[in-house]
Structures are given as structure tokens and as C-alpha cells.
């Protein structure tokens, strides 16, 4: 039972670079054959002989024609380069090519947790991470529906991403140093800032985290949460125990039944956990968080910068829409003859921002029309407008005192 991806590499880079490897193969094979048959490859020798037999005038002529060829070639190349100037930033992304060919984005999401990714009563996937998958599909393929969702446990998520079975992992995953370096993943954008939060029964009367010495917490296995608790225990010389579960639902259920004293996860997931409890009002969050700031967001494989860039700018486009005041409701209105240069750039009326990412210029406009801007999405998933009622806090725009910032579009 080897890892699936190891035996079947996805979108191998070599093939997309014009099949150079493929065409070179027969030549190499031929050379090997001649070597094996003992026949010397005498081509360089013959060329040398020709050179010796030439007269001076012949040599001059040849030099002259060489110079001419170089000059003509140079001018032609220059002309071609000028003519093809808009295509100078030709986007070369095996992942993007594979998605366009397939007509579908394969997106790794959570197995089911309110806020990030869950199935509603009609079986449709909903949530912040799910909407990001839809936004990327909308940008690349022109429809938010062209997504295949692959629910993944925390344990297998990176293996599945690295093996190439999914195009992008958007599964409330923390961005960390080790994941970026040792594990070979890219961290394009942070779509949710949070901190590791603890939820316990109100009846326990716990006010501070240190009072949890000796308590057992239900935790999802294969996460940074375990490490954070271990660090906290070591630095405070206390012992908060953990019980590790494969899936969040199992951990919720064990906490509810009283097997553990509480549940711990990032702030968003803990809010989700509370919403699934029989009596949510019986549970409280401990105000302190551990593990510092937890930035959660999409992850991509290393080695495909253009694809990573696209995922990053899908996130920024949703922030840009919020900054510009473009919402799902008014997007169609604002797209008609915009005068503001920023809005013109956003809707692709001016500049070639889509092409530079390898998609068409209407990408950002489509995202906001189908999904909405970042603020709207937050309110619908975590916030008070249909979400879990978690204040936006750190996830506000920089202009409202939050951490969500974005580069300019120039």
C-alpha cells in the first residue's frame, strides 16, 4: 500500500514544457545504441576536416553570411518580440492547464465543520473555505459550480495535496514555518486569522487556562493543536491532557458526552463545535488563546508559482471588492461604465490583470457577483448575517483595525 500519488504523478511538469523530454528520448536512445554497437560517432571529426580544407575566401564568405544571419535573425526576433509583447508574461502553470483541460477544479476541504465547510440540508457544500474553492473555479472556468469537493481529514490532507490528487487545499489549515519549508507547501493567502481557543462547560467554573491543569481536552489528531498544548504545558509546568480523534465530529461528541472536559481548536472551529452542542449555552470559551496568532488559509504545492499566485489574487480580489464597496448586490450595477480607475481595473475594463494570472479579464467581477466580497462572505459564514455569530475582530480590513491587508493593483 504505497502512497497513491507516488506511483501516479499529477500533471508532470516536463510534459507541459512542450514535451521536450519526450522528443529528446529517441535521440538519446539512438546515441546509446551506436555506443553499444561500438560504432564511433565521427561527426565532430568530419566537421573539423571540412574546416581545414576551406580556402580563406570561403572562410570570409562564411563569416560574412554568419554575421548577416545573426543580424537578420536578431531583427526578426526583435520584431517578433515586439509584436508578441502583450504575451511576454505567458502564464506557465501545469496545475492551471490541467484544470482547464479537466473543466473542473478539485478542491480539498474539511470533512464537515460549520463555518468552514459543511453540507446544508440539501446536501450542498457551504462555508468560507468552500466559497474560496468556488471563487477559484469561477475565476478559472467561469462558473462557481465547476468544483469537485474532496473532504479530507487533518491527517491525510498534506499527503493528498503533495501527491497531486487535489489542486488546492482549503481546509482551515494553519500556515507554519515547517509546512512552508520542510513539507514543501506554499501559503498563498490567509483567509481566516484566529488563535487556539478552549471551550469548556460553564459549570466547571474555569476562568483561566492555567486552571485546566489535569483536565483532558478532546482534540483532532494530526494538527498543530497538540503541539501548542505541549508547549503551553512545558512553559507553565502544568498538564493539560489530550485525547486524539480522527474527525472533529467524533471529538465534539466525546466532549458532549463528558469523556473530555472540553474541546480545543482554532477560534472558528470552536465556535462551530459550540453550535453543534445540545445546549450551546452550557458551554463557554476561555478568553485566553495559545499558540500565538493562527493564520489559516489555502495551501498549494511548491513548484507552480503561477497557480499559487492565482489562488493568492482570488483572495485579494475579494478584499479589493470590499475596499471598493463592491458587493454581490451592486456588482452588476457598478460594472456598467465604471469611471473610477480602481473599479475599471477590477472589472477588467482597463489593464490585462486577468491575462497576467492566466485567466480572462472578467475574473474578479465574476467572483464578487457569484460569491460576494470578503466581508459579505465572513458575515454569511462566521458572522452575524447567517453565520455562527463570531465577531469579525482580527478578520476586519486593516482600515477597521483588523489584520486583512492587500497589495495595490498597479
Amino acid at each position: 500500500m504505497l502512497l497513491p500519488g507516488i506511483s501516479s504523478p499529477p500533471a508532470p511538469r516536463v510534459n507541459h514544457a512542450g514535451g521536450a523530454g519526450l522528443y529528446a528520448a529517441p535521440g538519446i536512445a539512438l546515441r546509446w545504441l551506436t555506443m553499444l554497437s561500438g560504432k564511433p560517432d565521427d561527426r565532430p571529426l568530419r566537421r573539423q576536416r571540412d574546416w581545414l580544407q576551406m580556402t580563406h575566401s570561403e572562410a570570409d564568405n562564411m563569416l560574412r553570411s554568419c554575421v548577416r544571419a545573426v543580424l537578420v535573425g536578431g531583427i526578426c526576433a526583435g520584431l517578433l518580440g515586439w509584436a508578441g509583447a502583450p504575451a511576454r508574461a505567458e502564464v506557465n502553470s501545469p496545475t492551471l492547464d490541467a484544470i482547464k483541460k479537466r473543466g473542473e477544479l478539485i478542491c480539498g476541504i474539511d470533512t464537515g465543520i460549520p463555518g468552514y465547510a459543511f453540507q446544508d440540508s440539501s446536501g450542498e457544500w457551504q462555508g468560507l473555505d468552500v466559497s474560496y474553492c468556488r471563487a477559484i473555479a469561477d475565476a478559472v472556468l467561469g462558473s462557481p459550480k465547476k468544483v469537485k469537493f474532496i473532504p479530507l481529514t487533518a491527517k491525510v490532507r498534506f499527503t493528498v495535496l503533495k501527491s497531486g490528487e487535489i489542486d488546492v487545499l482549503i481546509r482551515d489549515s494553519e500556515h507554519s514555518f515547517k509546512r512552508n519549508t520542510d513539507m514543501g507547501l506554499e501559503e498563498p493567502a490567509v483567509n481566516f486569522f484566529t488563535g487556539q481557543t478552549f471551550m469548556v462547560r460553564k459549570s466547571l467554573g474555569v476562568k483561566h487556562l492555567k486552571e485546566l491543569d489535569g483536565a483532558t481536552m478532546c482534540v483532532e489528531t494530526g494538527t498543530t493543536l497538540e503541539t501548542n498544548i505541549a508547549d503551553y504545558n512545558r512553559s507553565n509546568n502544568i498538564k493539560i491532557k489530550t485525547l486524539l480523534f480522527e474527525k472533529p465530529e467524533e471529538a465534539f461528541a466525546a466532549a458532549e458526552s463528558g469523556r473530555c472536559d472540553g474541546y480545543t481548536d482554532d477560534g472558528g472551529s470552536v465556535a462551530a463545535a459550540r453550535s453543534t452542542m445540545k445546549t450551546p449555552a452550557d458551554w463557554m470559551f476561555i478568553p485566553e488563546t495559545i499558540g500565538g496568532l493562527q493564520p489559516l488559509g489555502p495551501l498549494t504545492r511548491q513548484g507552480d508559482e503561477a497557480w499559487t499566485r492565482l489562488v493568492k489574487w482570488v483572495h485579494y480580489s475579494m478584499l479589493e471588492a470590499e475596499v471598493l464597496g463592491i458587493t454581490k448586490a451592486n456588482a452588476a450595477e457598478k460594472a456598467k461604465n465604471p469611471t473610477d480607475p480602481d473599479v475599471r481595473r477590477f472589472f477588467g475594463v482597463e489593464g490585462d490583470f486577468g491575462k497576467l494570472l492566466g485567466v480572462d479579464n472578467g475574473w474578479a467581477g465574476r467572483i464578487v457577483m457569484d460569491i460576494g466580497n470578503y466581508g459579505e462572505l465572513y458575515e454569511a459564514t462566521f458572522g452575524s448575517n447567517g453565520g455562527l455569530g463570531l465577531p469579525r475582530g482580527m478578520n476586519n480590513l486593516f482600515s477597521n483595525g483588523g489584520l486583512q491587508t492587500l497589495p495595490t493593483w498597479h
Binding site: I6, T159, E226, L244, E246, G258
Partner: protein
């Protein structure tokens, strides 16, 4: 060979393409996570290699417990299945068919969620005789602290106690020892009591029960799941083996005047054992491999800790899975080597 070579070359090529090396140096890194149930000392700052040892022991513990319990239960149900009594025979039949025809994972989760999670919370623990406490966090037992320097005496007492049933039928100068054997048990009890310094009783302290030792419900659920599932198959092996003993043996034994119980224990079972060992070996291997289902009920065994937390934290997929396969292979091969040895030992030597 060619296929193996191709797979290895392919894996190596893909690892290189993803800038992933193959190496086992990560085993020395600090683990930095908690293991909730362990047989040997474990600290967050220990290495991954130590974590591997801790969870291997957990896997071995639950496998061994399940094999022993499944064998005893399977033997009982298998014999019940052949009983002349209609009720006994059919209870065994229903048990076997019910257990054998539902998935093992479902059964383990049933024990964990439907049975053990309905136990009362810690503040309403059920107090059992002898200071035992039973609640949703598990069964809490008192532990004995042995006086320093008297460990040898303790072991001697345990050995004496275990030897008592063997002494019973022994003869001294042609006379059976019989009830006199109880003297050794009594001596053992006195010696044992003398070495105990104090008894630590479990009691509610803060959030949890402090003191004593805990048998977590995860272990019990996995143990129950593996035992009961395995026992249904073992029962069928036992039944088949008993039925394979020629009927003449039974009739001859009855003809000699042995009563049915004696026929079973002295004539039929010894011959049936020879027949059941080979299929039993593969059943034991199934139980060992099935222990990896413990991951579903948060039992910290090899698969959950090593292929879960360690794999995820270190990012060494190939190495962790290779180690995991090697360990399971070693355990399984050792088990079958032992069973084969035992099979040869009990096999009839025909001349």
C-alpha cells in the same frame, strides 16, 4: 522483481521532483505531543522514536489481550454451538451470525459510543467494591506501592500463587498433596501483604480522578470489539475442529465409561487442538492487524500515533508508512513463527 524495481524507481523519482528526501533522521526529533495512554514513561519532550515504542507497546497490549480473550470466548461459543441443548446451541448460533456479519469498525464504534459513553460523568462515578470507580473516563483501580528493595519477594509471592494449582495434583511419596497446596497460596498472600507499603485509592481531585490507575474506555472499546469479532470466527474454527475428530474416538471414550465432560477435555479437545492451530494462526493475525482500527476510537496505537500525528508533524509520509508496515510485518511474522513452532510440537508424530 521488475515491478518492485519500477515502483522503487518511480517513488524515488517523484520524491526528487517534490524535493523530498528519504531518511530516518527525523526519528530523533522532539515529538512535542501528549500520548494519553502509555505503558512506559512518556514526556512531551521525548523523541519520535520513543513515541514509536510507546504506541507499539499499546498495539501489542491490546492485541495480546484480545487474542487471549477471543480464544477463551471462541472456545466457549464453539462448544456451545455443538451443545445438545437447543437454547444453548441457538444462542451461540445467533451470536456468531450477528457478530460475523456486521463490520468490525461498526462494532468497535458501537462499544465506544453506544455502550461506554453512556456511563455517568466523573462526579457521579459508580463506586464498585474494593475502591474501584467506574465512569465515562474509564475504570479506576487502586494501585499498590511496593516497599523499596522487596521487589524480589513480591515476584516470589506471585510465582507461588501461580504455582498453587500445579501443586494440587502433585504427589509426595505416593500421596496427593491436595488441599495442603493451599498452604503455599496462604504463604504467598502473607509475603505479598508484607511488601505493600500503602494502597493508593482513586478519588476525585480537580477535574479528574487522581491516584490509582485508569483503564481508559478507548482500550476497553477496542478490546471488546476485537475480542467479540474475533471470537465468532474462532468459535467456527473450534466447531469445525471438534467435528473433524473421528466419531469413533468419542464413542470409544464413552464406551470406556468416561462421562461427557471428560470425553471433551481428555479425548476430543486435545485432538481438535491439532486441527485448529493453522486456521487459528491466521485469525490471530487478523486480530493484530485489526488493532489499527483503534484510531477510530482515539486509542493511541501505532496507526493513530505514528501514521497520524507523527506523519503529519514531520511530513515524512513514505518513511512513517514504511516503518509502520515493517513493524506490523515483524509482529505478524513472529506470531506465525510461534504458532508454527507450537503446531509442530503438538502435531502427531507418525512413524
Amino acid at each position: 522483481m521488475a515491478a518492485a524495481w519500477y515502483l522503487a524507481a518511480n517513488a524515488a523519482g517523484n520524491l526528487a521532483a517534490r524535493h523530498m528526501g528519504l531518511g530516518f533522521g527525523f526519528l530523533g526529533d522532539t515529538a512535542n505531543f501528549d500520548i494519553p495512554f502509555k505503558l512506559i514513561a512518556w514526556d512531551d519532550s521525548n523523541s519520535y522514536a520513543r513515541a514509536l515504542l510507546v504506541c507499539t507497546l499499546n498495539t501489542l497490549l491490546v492485541s495480546l489481550m484480545s487474542i487471549i480473550a477471543a480464544t477463551l470466548l471462541g472456545l466457549l461459543v464453539g462448544i456451545m454451538r455443538l451443545s445438545a441443548n437447543w437454547l444453548v446451541r441457538n444462542i451461540a448460533l445467533v451470536f456468531i451470525e450477528l457478530v460475523r456479519n456486521t463490520p468490525q469498525l461498526v462494532q468497535i464504534i458501537f462499544w465506544y459510543v453506544a455502550v461506554l459513553q453512556t456511563l455517568p460523568p466523573i462526579r457521579q462515578s459508580i463506586a464498585l467494591p474494593g475502591g474501584l470507580l467506574l465512569n465515562i473516563r474509564g475504570l479506576y483501580l487502586p494501585i499498590l506501592h511496593i516497599r523499596d528493595g522487596s521487589t524480589a519477594l513480591t515476584w516470589l509471592a506471585v510465582a507461588l500463587l501461580l504455582a498453587t494449582p500445579l501443586l494440587w495434583p502433585a504427589r509426595v511419596a505416593g500421596r496427593r498433596i491436595g488441599a495442603w497446596a493451599l498452604l503455599s497460596a496462604a504463604g504467598a498472600a502473607v509475603a505479598f501483604a508484607a511488601t505493600v507499603e500503602d494502597v493508593e485509592m482513586p478519588a476525585l481531585r480537580g477535574f479528574n480522578i487522581g491516584g490509582g490507575t485508569q483503564i481508559p474506555p478507548e482500550l476497553v472499546a477496542l478490546w471488546a470489539g476485537l475480542t467479540i469479532y474475533g471470537s465468532a470466527f474462532i468459535a467456527e474454527i473450534v466447531r469445525a475442529a471438534i467435528m473433524a475428530v473421528p466419531n469413533g474416538q468419542r464413542e470409544a471414550a464413552l464406551g470406556l465409561g468416561l462421562h461427557p465432560g471428560q470425553v471433551l477435555t481428555h479425548v476430543v479437545l486435545p485432538q481438535a487442538v491439532r486441527i485448529m492451530i493453522p486456521p487459528m494462526t491466521s485469525q490471530y493475525l487478523n486480530i493484530i492487524k485489526g488493532s489499527s482500527l483503534g484510531a477510530a476510537v482515539a486509542y493511541p496505537e501505532l496507526f493513530q500515533i505514528f501514521a497520524g500525528t507523527v506523519l503529519n508533524q514531520s511530513g515524512r509520509e513514505l518513511e512513517t508508512i514504511l516503518i509502520l508496515m515493517a513493524i506490523f510485518l515483524t509482529i505478524s511474522l513472529l506470531t506465525s513463527a510461534f504458532m508454527n513452532w507450537y503446531n509442530r510440537r503438538v502435531a502427531l508424530v507418525e512413524r
